[in-house]
Symmetry: none
Subunit: 195 residues, 4 copies
Amino acid sequence: MPKLGMEPIRRDALVKATIAEIGTAGTLDVTVGQIARRAGMSSALAHHYFGSKDQMLLAAMRHILNLYGAEVRGALSMAATPAERVEAIVRASFSSGNFRQETVAAWLNFYVQAHKSEDVRRLLGVYRRRLRSNLLASLRHLVNDPDRAAETIGALIDGVYIRQALRQSPIRADETIELVLGAVDLLTGKADDKA
Amino acid sequence: MPKLGMEPIRRDALVKATIAEIGTAGTLDVTVGQIARRAGMSSALAHHYFGSKDQMLLAAMRHILNLYGAEVRGALSMAATPAERVEAIVRASFSSGNFRQETVAAWLNFYVQAHKSEDVRRLLGVYRRRLRSNLLASLRHLVNDPDRAAETIGALIDGVYIRQALRQSPIRADETIELVLGAVDLLTGKADDKA
Amino acid sequence: MPKLGMEPIRRDALVKATIAEIGTAGTLDVTVGQIARRAGMSSALAHHYFGSKDQMLLAAMRHILNLYGAEVRGALSMAATPAERVEAIVRASFSSGNFRQETVAAWLNFYVQAHKSEDVRRLLGVYRRRLRSNLLASLRHLVNDPDRAAETIGALIDGVYIRQALRQSPIRADETIELVLGAVDLLTGKADDKA
Amino acid sequence: MPKLGMEPIRRDALVKATIAEIGTAGTLDVTVGQIARRAGMSSALAHHYFGSKDQMLLAAMRHILNLYGAEVRGALSMAATPAERVEAIVRASFSSGNFRQETVAAWLNFYVQAHKSEDVRRLLGVYRRRLRSNLLASLRHLVNDPDRAAETIGALIDGVYIRQALRQSPIRADETIELVLGAVDLLTGKADDKA
DNA sequence: AATGAATGAGGATTCATTCAT
DNA sequence: GATGAATGAATCCTCATTCAT
C-alpha cells in the first residue's frame, strides 16, 4: 500500500466510477457519495481531489472524449483513401470502447448538462467540430456538397447513439455500423439505388 | 369564477408550465414550486392534482407526444402517394409546433428520464413504434429493405433533434427538413448520385 | 392554533432564539438547527422564512439595535437639559433591556462579524453615528471640545460593554452607570477634582 | 538543514501565522490548513506540535499577552513618578507593537473565545488583573478612589481597542493615546475643567 | 378548491484530526 | 521531523410532500 502518489490513481478511479455510476443510474443525479463509494473512498476524499462535483463530471466527460478521440485517430492512421477514412470514423464511433451502455448513457446526459454548464457546452462543441472537420476532409473528395453530407452523417451517428441509450438489450454494434455505412454509401453514390 | 370544473384547466396549465419550465431550464431539475408558480398556483395544489412530481412529468410527456401524434396524423391525411406520406411524416416531425427549443429540450430530458422511469420508457417505446410503423407502411412500396430505411430515417430524425437541443441560435426548421428529405430521397433512389 | 399569519410570529421567535442562542453559546458559531430547535421549529422552516443563516443573524442584530434605539429615544424624550440628555443616553445604554448577558454577548459577536459582512459593518456604523450625534448635540452646550468628549464617552461605553461580556457573575448595571456618569461629570466639569 | 531543534522554530512560525491569519480574516474562523500554509508547513505538522487547534489559538493569545506585558514592563521601568507610570501604561497599550490592525482583531476574537474556553478566560483574567494592579499602584498616590479610576481607565482602553477593530483606515495611535491621557488627566485632577 | 405551514430526508461541502510512511 | 492520505462528523441548504384550515 503505497502512501505516495495516490492522486492520479484516485482521480482515475473516481473518473471511472463516475462514468459507471452515471451509466448504471442513467442520470447525472448521482451523489458524490455513490461515486466515491464505488471508487472505494470517502466522499470527502473525492472532494479533496476534485474540488467539486461539477469538476468530477467534467473530468469524466473529458475522459470519454479523449478515449473517443484516440480511437478515431488510431482508426484514421490506418486508412488510405478518403472513403476508407470516412468508414474508419464511423467504425471508431461505434467501437466497443465507446459504444457501451454506460458510456452512451453518460454521453446523453452530457448533452443535457450542456444546457447548464458552459464548460460542458464547450467540450461538446470541440467534439462536434472535430468530428465535422474529420468528415469534411474526406468527403470533399467524394461528394458535391460535403457540408450537407457531413451534417447528415454526424446527425445519424448521434441519432443512433441516442436510440442506443434507450435500448435495454445488449448492444449490436455491427448492425449499427452497417446501417450508418449504408447511408454513407448512398451519400457518396457508391451504393446501388433502391438498395 | 366557477369553482367546479377547475380540474382540467389546472391540469392543463400545469402541463404547459412543466414543459415551459423544462425548456427554460434545459433540465428535468425543475422544482415543483417553480412549475406551480409559473402555472399561477401553489405547489400544494399541483400535488393535489397530480399526486407526485413524476406524474406531472409524465403528463407533460404525454402532452408532447399527443401533439406530435396529432400533427403526424393530420399531415398523413393529406398525403396521397407513399412518397408523399414519408415526406409528410418528416415535415410533421419538424413542424413549428414540435420543433421548438423548449419542446426539444423536454424531449431530450425524457430520453434521460427513460432510464429511471418504466412509464417514461414505455411512452417513448410507443412513440418509436408508431413512427416506425408509419414509415414502414409507406417505405414498403418504395425500397427493398424498408426496415433498414425506417431505422435510418428514424435515427436521423432523432439525431437532428438532439443536435437542435444544443444549438443556441434560433431554429431553422426548413434547412433541417431539407437535410432529412435529402437523405430520404437517397434512400428511396429518387435523388441523383453524388448530390 | 391559527394556520395563517404565522410568518411574523415565526420570524420573531427565530430572532429571539437567535439572540438567546448566541448569548448562551457566546459565539456566532451556532447552528441553524440549534436556533430553530430553540424557536420550536425545524431548521427547514427557519430557512423558509429567512432564506439563509446570515439573514437570520442580520435580523437579530437589527432587532437589538432597534430595541436600543427605542430605549434611547424614550429616555431622551423625558430629558430637559443637555446634561440630563447625556445622562439619559448613558442610562439607556445600560438599561435592563440592553445590558443583559446574552444581548451583550451578541453585541460583541456582531463586532467580530463586521469584519466579514458588509451589512453588519453598515449596521454597526449606523449605531455608532447615531450615538455620536446624540451625544454631540448635548455636549456642544457643555464642553469646549464636544468631539473629543463624545468619542471618550462612546469608547467608555463600549469598553464597559466588552468587559461585561467577560463577567460571569450577574450584572451590576447601577455600578456601571455610576462609573460612566462619573466620567461624564469629569468631562463636563461638574465634578470636584480628585473625586 | 538541522533536523534538531526545529520545535521552537516551528512553534514560533505557527503562532505568528495564527495571529496574521486571524488578523487578515478578522475572525477566529480560520482553518488549521490556512495557518499551516502561511507558516510554510503541512497542517499535520501543526497538529504534531500543538495537538489541537485550540492549543494553537491559546499559544497565539499567550504570545500577544507576553508582548504586551513586556512592553508595559519596559515602559514602567523608565517611569519615575506615579503620574508618569500611569502614562507609561497607557502609551504601552497603544504602542506600535500592540495596536496593529491584526493584533487588535485577534484581541477582539479572544474576547469572544473566552466564552467557550476556560483557558482563554483565565488568560484574559490574568491580563486584566495585571493591568488593574499596575494602574492601582500608581493611582493610589493620585486619586481618592483609585479603584474606580483604574476601572474607568481600563474600560476606556478596551473601548478604544474594540472601536479600532472596526476601523478600516490605517491607525492613528497618537490621537488615541491623547484621548485616553486626556481622560486620565481629568481623573487625576491635572486638567482644567471644561477642557 | 386552494394554500400557507411545516418537515424529513438527503446532498454538497468543509474541516479538524489521525495515520502510515 | 514531516507530509500526503484519508475520514467522520457536522453544517447549510433544498425540495418533494403532507396537513390543517
